[in-house]
Each structure stands twice: as C-alpha cells, then as structure tokens.
Symmetry: C2
Subunit: 409 residues, 2 copies
C-alpha cells in the first residue's frame, strides 16, 4: 500500500522517486495523481516527504485537482535554460531537472525513475543530468521493488474501485451473452434479425460501446476469439470472423476506469448452440483445475507454487505444459496468475522463479487454460480474486461458468 512507500524506499536505498509523463494512462503517475488532464508533468517524491507535482502553468487547474503540492515549470523559464544550454534542448531539460531537484534540496542520492512516456528524450536528458549532477545515481528497475511492491497490496478505496470495475465488466459480459443468445442460427453461423451474419467485429464494437456507457475503457483492447484464434492465447480475434456454432470462443476482457485507472480482468469460454465432445472435455478439465486451485489458495503461499501446481494438474491429464516444454504452443502455455491494479499485469506474478506471496490486500487473477490451435480450439476461465484481510479469498465479480450459450435455430 501507498503508506509503505517510505519504508520500501529505505529498504532499497532510494532517496527520491522521479515519475515522468502524463496523469493518465501512466500507472506510476496516476497512483499519486489520479486521472486528471495533465499531459506532461514530473512528480518528485523525497523519502519521508509528500510528493511534489511540477507541471505546465496551462494545466495548473487540473493539477490542483490532485490535491498534491503543485509547482509550475514557469519557475524555471525554459527559454533562459535553452540560452544557458546554447540551444541544446536535451541539456536545457536536464538543467531544468537539476534546478527543480535543487529547489527541493536534492543534489545527491539515489533516484528511482518511473513513468510511461516516450523513452528517447528522457534517456538523453537523464544521462545529461547525470553529467551535471554526478552526486545523483539513477536507478530503473526490471522488477520494481518499490512502487510495484507498494501497489501489490490494495487499500479499501482501491479494492472498492476494482470491485466496481468487476461489476462493470460482468455486466458488459452479460450483455454480450444476451446479445448472442438473442440472435439465431442459420447454416451453422449466428445471424441477426435481418439474416446477416454476426461478426467478431460486431461484437467487439458493442463491447466498446457498453464499456463506454459505464465510464470504462479497454485501452489494451479485448480478446474475443473463435476457433483457431481461441487456441492462440493472445490472439485478439479476427474482426471479420463469423460466429460459427460449436466452436470455442475465448472472451477475455480487461477494461479500466476511463483515463487509465484501475483494471479488472475476466475470461469466459463459450460455445454457441452446442459444444463438441472434445471442446466439452477440454472445458471440464480447465474448470476442474480452476476449482482445485480455488480451494487451494492459501494466504502466505508463493503464487508461483500455483503455476507449478497447475502444470502438474494439466500434465496428469496428459497435456503438455510450459513446465516440461517451455516453448510449447499447445496445452497449457502461459502463467496462471498476475496481480491487477493500475496495471493490468502487476505484482504478484506467478511465473516460475518469482517469489511473490499471496498476502492480504493482493488482487490477482486465476486463469488456467488449454490451447490446441491445430484442432481449432482453446479454453480459458479467469476470475479476479481479492485476498481479504480476514484471510479468505473473494472473487470480486460473480458470473456463471457455462460453456454452451443456447442459440435459436
């Protein structure tokens, strides 16, 4: 949680967090600012002190909505800096950072870099700043032990927001199911009331619309993939594909609050009309593994243990898995779980070798699946769980798990 930040900074010998970019679609920044209309900013947080947000004066009013201490770039007029830098914009920007930091009493120490923005200029600017301020040491993490660690456990307000996104998500999924079952079948494909085939594109445009109605968006799209595409876990689906009866449809939806707030992650697999025996069997196997895991989640355990467990369960059923065949593209081919928050994928992670724990406050997915693109099918079931302070695990949004969606002929 956010209140762990100073301790995490201390434990990792970090004196300052420097977060670049906009206050939207930028998890590190939004963690502090919320989603506001500030398109370029720098947030500087010294250990033990509240964060300070530097921004353009034109965006001062929006910045003030964050409730943070805000300051204006105008304190360091860029034209003066540019002159001092002999027209070198990279150096001028580095000088501005040097002055901003100095104004907060920061002239040395270890600074962790964050923020999602264009990487080219910051790479040059931070290296230039390093030359200007040799007492500073810059750190960027492949596996972040500070912000991502703090984000790994959610406070009540965060849980409420993710729960609300869960309600939005399952409502939209329900509307998609209603839409599909209110059409009818003709020659083995779903057609609308005018007899026109329904395409994946038709369904996806409704998903976008219904999410927008609820104040959500899906910045990373969603997966609505049928047949062979369903057998490729990250195929998003082909917009022109028809909705053929008896084929597996993997519907993986991971929307967030508008502007890049908290996410939810959810998957169901459907067959329209009927399920062929092979699809039914795969589905039952995935469902059975899902249920076994649900009963086995235990507070304090390493999440990666459940990835191992999932592989073992699927291997016992005769499926190849990434445990024994790391590059397999058939069978169980991905990870079981990841945390969900301001990132769709965040800690805890379940990859083998990771040691993230299931601890109270974690919000994480459970998403076993089986994939056989060569047989034109794939199955995944996913819910988002909350590891509650009372030690129990709660699925944050209920939704039925039925493979077959009935369709009128």
């Amino acid at each position: 949680m956010k209140n762990e930040l100073d301790a995490l900074m201390q434990a990792n010998d970090i004196d300052v967090l420097l977060i670049l970019g906009a206050a939207a679609h930028n998890p590190a920044m939004v963690y502090f600012t919320g989603v506001v209309h500030v398109s370029a900013a720098d947030l500087i947080k010294k250990r033990g002190e509240p964060p300070v947000l530097f921004c353009n004066p034109m965006e001062r009013e929006e910045a003030a909505r964050t409730g943070l201490i805000t300051r204006s770039y105008n304190e360091f007029p860029f034209m003066d800096l540019l002159k001092e830098a002999n027209g070198d914009r990279i150096l001028a920007a580095a000088l501005r950072y040097q002055r901003m930091l100095a104004s907060l009493g920061i002239t040395s120490g270890r600074m962790a870099l964050y923020g999602s923005t264009e990487v080219g200029a910051p790479f040059m600017i931070i290296n230039a700043l390093q030359q200007l301020a040799p007492g500073l040491t810059f750190v960027g993490y492949a596996q972040d032990p500070i912000l991502m660690q703090a984000m790994q456990t959610k406070d009540e307000a965060e849980v409420a927001r993710i729960r609300r996104m869960g309600a939005v998500t399952t409502e939209v999924v329900g509307r998609v199911a209603d839409y599909l079952t209110s059409q009818h079948a003709k020659d083995g494909v779903l057609v609308n009331s005018e007899g026109q085939p329904v395409t994946i594109g038709d369904v996806k445009s409704r998903i976008d619309l219904w999410l927008a109605e609820k104040g959500a968006e899906n910045p990373e799209g969603c997966i609505f993939a049928i047949g062979r595409d369903a057998g490729v876990p990250h195929s998003a689906g082909t917009l022109t594909d028809l909705m053929r009866l008896g084929q597996t449809i993997v519907f993986d939806i991971y929307p967030c609050e508008a502007g890049g707030g908290y996410f939810y992650d959810f998957t169901r697999t459907w067959c329209l009309g009927y399920a062929p025996d092979e699809a039914q069997k795969l589905y039952e196997q995935v469902h059975s593994v899902y249920n076994t895991l649900k009963d086995e989640f235990t507070m304090g355990r390493v999440l990666a243990d459940y990835q191992k467990r999932t592989c073992e369960l699927f291997e016992a059923m005769g499926h190849p898995t990434v445990m024994t065949q790391p590059t397999t593209e058939e069978g169980y081919v991905h990870s079981l779980s990841h945390g969900v928050g301001l990132h769709i994928h965040e800690k805890p992670f379940s990859g083998i070798g990771m040691n993230d724990l299931l601890v109270p406050g974690s919000i994480f997915t459970s998403e076993p699946g089986l994939y056989y693109p060569s047989r034109g099918m794939g199955v995944r079931i996913e819910d988002t769980y909350y590891a509650r302070p009372d030690g129990t695990f709660e699925i944050l949004a209920d939704f039925p798990k039925e493979l077959v969606l009935p369709v009128r002929q």
Copy 2:
C-alpha cells in the same frame, strides 16, 4: 511521409531506428505496425532495409497481421540470458538486444531510440547495452528530425483516415449540440425532461459513448468547460458543473481511432440561450482572427509566422498575448497551431522559434482563442486543415460556427 525515412536517417547520420513498446497507443510503433494486439515488442529498422518486429511468441499471430517481417524473442531464450547475466535482468535484457541487433548485422553505428513505454528499465538496459556494445551510439531526440519529420506529411491513406476521424468528430459534436438544444432552461440552468440539471459530467459521458459507437476513443479526454474553466485553456471542465445559460462553453474534442490510431482536433465555443455582450465581442474577435488566418495560410510559409500574426492581430484589439507577455494567463495564451496525426500534437509546430513549414501533405490546426478566467469566460475556435498537394488548404470536417445554441425556456 514514410518513404522519406531512409533519406531522413541518412541526413541525420542514423543507421538504425529502435522502437520499443506496444503496438497500440504508441505512435512511433503504430506508424509501422498499425494498431494490433502486441503488448511488448521491439521494432528495428536499419537504414535502407525494411523494419523487423521482434515480439513474444504468444503474440505471434497478432504480430503477423502487421505484414512486417516478424521474429520471436524465443530465438534468444531469456532464461539462458539471465543465467549468463548472473540473474541481472537488466543485463539479460541488454544481452538480448545485443543478440537481436547482431542477428541483423548491427554491431556498431548510430541508433535512434523511440517508443512510449515505462522509462526506468529501458534507461538502464540501453546504458547496459552501451557497455556491451561500445561501437553503438544511442540518440534520443527532444525535437525528432526523423520519424516526426516523416510523419509531418501524410500520404493519401493517412489523410483518408484523419478525414474519417473528422467526420466522426463533427458528428459527435453535432449530437452534443442536438442534445443540449433539446433540453430546456429553468432558473438559468439547463435541465432535462425530468427537470434535473444537466451537468458537464452528463455531457462528457455521452461524448465518450458516441465516440465509442463510431469506433473512436479519446485517450486524452476532451475539454468541455464552462465559465471560469473555459477561461483556462487546458481545464477539462468540472464534472459537477451545471450548464448555466449565457456562459461560454469551450468544447475541444480530440479523439483518435480506437487503440491509438490517427487523431482529429476540433473546438467550438458555445453559449446556451444567449451570449452576454462581452462574450459575443470576444467571440467575434476570435472568429475574425480565425478568418483572417484562414485567408492568409500560404504553402511554403513558416507556421510560426502565423503565431506571430495571431499575436499581432489580438494585440491590435487590445489583448495581452504571449508575444509580449510570455507568461500571461489572460488574453491569447497559447500557440496557434500544431500538426495532427498519430500524435494529437506533432509537427508542424507553430511556437515562436520553430521553423516548421506549411508544405503539401501537412495536416495542422488553426485555433485562435481568448481567455479571461477572471471574468469567467474563454473562447476558442479550432479546425483541422489539410495542406493539399494542389496548393490549397482544406478544412477536413465542416461544422457551423455559431456562438449561441438556442434553448427552450
């Protein structure tokens, strides 16, 4: 245009472009890939050769949709690299870049960095790569003379997509106007058929919905700001504000194709019911400057000249401007124009000191405005123009310019 890239690389002594990040909401990447469901990739383009897209094998099918040469990270198994790097993930990632580049015959030369993603890890990885491959020189631009320069002129397919977004934008603006004028006024505020006040939030949620219906999104939000907020150019508006009659409403909408494709940019200023004399006068002044500029745009001229011209015109009317008072927050307080493409703000830029030209293929805004937050008002009019190959300038989407939207009492 894209076909200028090799020449621009040569002119800037760049041998390789390296673009990081996802194939969505990432202009540099999307310029080559289009919007596809590839969440992490590296695009490497050698001068004189077609780009090569490296991605996760799980996303191979989506990557193939780009039509580019695609290769898998699995060619360089990360676990082996991690072992070689003694568990240092930054170094392992740098080793992977070194191998990827070497596999394309790149072991030295000047490489330009692009892509919008988290900045911390790439900062460390590229610096580690620099140690591994001292023959490489990395360049990041504050003002990019290659990709942004190529993007500054659009080919026919790009113009068609921006024109289509213009049609979507103006259709949504029309629906907003229809919605507002179909309500009625009570005690000086707009109320709906149940007599409930209409808020900025109500309007904004409809904007999101109607954009989604059209396959568009507004990742950076939109500005729908009334009264004093309208007087602060980048205030997005206060969701709980009521729609008071006789107050200026600045409606600036800048949506893009879903997933982070091409943008459009458009602003109108409205008063519901009636316009007070002062607002009417400001509006006429802005409209007059807009029209003067429209007639004066000339192919081959420096766009910044029109910023100067705008300041002169407003100064002659007695308004402060950024030309004489660079930090003024009243009067004319911003730039006149910017290019529009995969970025909402791209070349050509109109800031004083910039030397971007109006050349055939440019798509740019004209957006004069006047702001008086202390008097609770602001006015801006904006259209997006296409500098046509035939030397004329075309507004890409027509829409009436009327200040007052009539409202029934």
